[in-house]
Symmetry: C2
Subunit: 307 residues, 2 copies
């Protein structure tokens, strides 16, 4: 089992009602990789600048993430995002975005990263996603995107979606992509573009899974302490695809497996938001993950009515 | 077992992307009563005008709802609401509200309606809710409200909430009432006002239950055909409290029972939205309800991870 993720590596400055942090390690590929690292071998592909040093690499390598394919652009600066959250932590307000080395990013895949069995295309320009997909030998690929690409490069995005197996989007993005206000119809419409698995991420409301066989929904855990929601969606994707890669290497690919993967995705997202940036996931243990999967099971369990 | 509901009885004119209807039977007490009628004996208390006739009464009495406490105001007109839904069917847009006989409503409870074991205070002015609660001998009372009363008569509403057992609100209303943006904290804060059970209704995302023992969440069923969401929250409350009344009369009041009640509430709401007004619930069968409870169980079930 092995998983390559291509996406942003970033410094994030974030302010929430519970505090603020300057230039934390972040980015979609980072949050994804840390979450997936609990399940499989992960390689990160993405560009960084001169401001990215050993401390940042250590955060990834301490979790066993392979950082050989992180591209250091001499003289460049790492992608930077600054944002804040009001009391409604479901909505991120962007205050500053500096693409820096990410502006001219041309993904370079080493032989090892091409040969990973699973590929995750983080939220980057869809033509880059297609380029990476074409170079990769992965037998299974997931893709995330965002409203910007739906609005500006929809044809490319639709083509990219046609070349992958699992699409992960926010439910609003899924509706926007398909023009279908009804989520179940939107998911079916997205499936017609190619992927056999559609995951609708719903923030604090959890996530929904649509496959050819049926659907599944898992609510969010009602956490009292949400400190920083940044990276929750990427952590979900990391837990989901990380578990799926582990399961596929054991020959399990059915809907039962996908449902457990949804639980692991939810678990990893729920930990991610408990502290700023990568702080909570860095100190996370396998025992805590196992306990929280059971929390999710209890959260949704009800007995048969005894009528 | 017996349940009295006090609330609006209305004519609704509704337009959605799937059609429109003029002057359908509606109102919180009507949607609640029809849903609850599958579980217990229901009495409706509320005012109607000269335009309310045998056809409307028949819709209720055909489901066994007792209509003796519906007050006919001579020379008056029944409460009228007109609204529409855009493609995002989560948001109701009000085009016209005519309070009519509802403007001077002073609830009158017959001996039988006072003696019901359970009471549901539908969304009406909080001082009226308190008046009804004081007159009722019910051993268990639920209450719904809305943003209008939180904004204009919050002290009365807080007093009313202090006198009931189960509070049912939309999650945004629960946050507004308590000033807590975090739902889990908002629920705990609402519990400190008096009720031991808090239900956060979340529209298409389902509903969450908070008790002293813990929490439970049930997602919405991803229905492809949602025709008219009007009354979904009241149908939820009717299924929830209707089942709870039935269970309480059998001595079951624990969290296991509350979770099953959440499933029945969700089931009744999911049927309500499949057609305009009361149309779907009127032709609903007990077999369909039993089947859909199992749909909800399947929707949320995942196996233990086998690590």
């Amino acid at each position: 089992m092995s998983l390559t993720v291509v996406g942003s590596i970033a410094f994030d400055s974030v302010r929430t009602p519970f505090g603020e942090r300057e230039r934390m390690l972040g980015g979609s590929a980072v949050h994804f990789a840390l979450a997936a690292s609990f399940f499989t071998e992960v390689r990160v592909v993405g560009p960084v600048g001169d401001d990215f040093g050993d401390d940042e690499i250590a955060v990834l390598s301490e979790r066993g993430v392979i950082t050989d394919d992180i591209e250091h652009v001499e003289g460049g600066q790492t992608f930077f995002w600054q944002g804040h959250y009001e009391h409604d932590m479901n909505i991120a307000h962007t205050d500053d975005t500096q693409l820096n080395v990410f502006a001219d990013f041309e993904p370079k895949l080493s032989a090892e990263s091409r040969e990973a069995e699973m590929l995750f295309l983080g939220n980057i320009q869809p033509d880059l996603q297609r380029d990476v997909r074409a170079k990769s030998a992965a037998s299974y690929a997931g893709l995330d995107s965002m409203n910007l690409w739906i609005e500006t490069t929809k044809n490319s995005l639709v083509a990219a979606i046609g070349e992958i197996d699992c699409l992960l989007l926010n439910d609003a993005e899924l509706r926007m992509l398909t023009g279908e206000p009804n989520l179940a119809r939107a998911a079916r419409s997205a499936m017609e573009l190619g992927p056999s698995v559609i995951v609708a991420k719903r923030g604090e409301y959890g996530a929904a899974l649509f496959t050819e066989e049926g659907f599944f929904a898992i609510p969010g855990l009602p956490l009292e302490d949400v400190r920083d929601p940044t990276g929750a969606g990427d952590s979900f994707a990391g837990g989901f695809l990380g578990y799926l890669d582990e399961a596929r290497s054991a020959g399990r690919t059915d809907d039962v497996t996908l449902r457990i993967a949804m639980a692991y995705g939810s678990v990893m997202a729920s930990f991610n938001v408990e502290d700023f940036g990568t702080e909570r996931v860095r100190r996370l243990t396998e025992g805590e993950i196992a306990d929280r999967v059971l929390d999710f099971k209890r959260l949704t369990h009800f007995d048969e009515p005894s009528n």
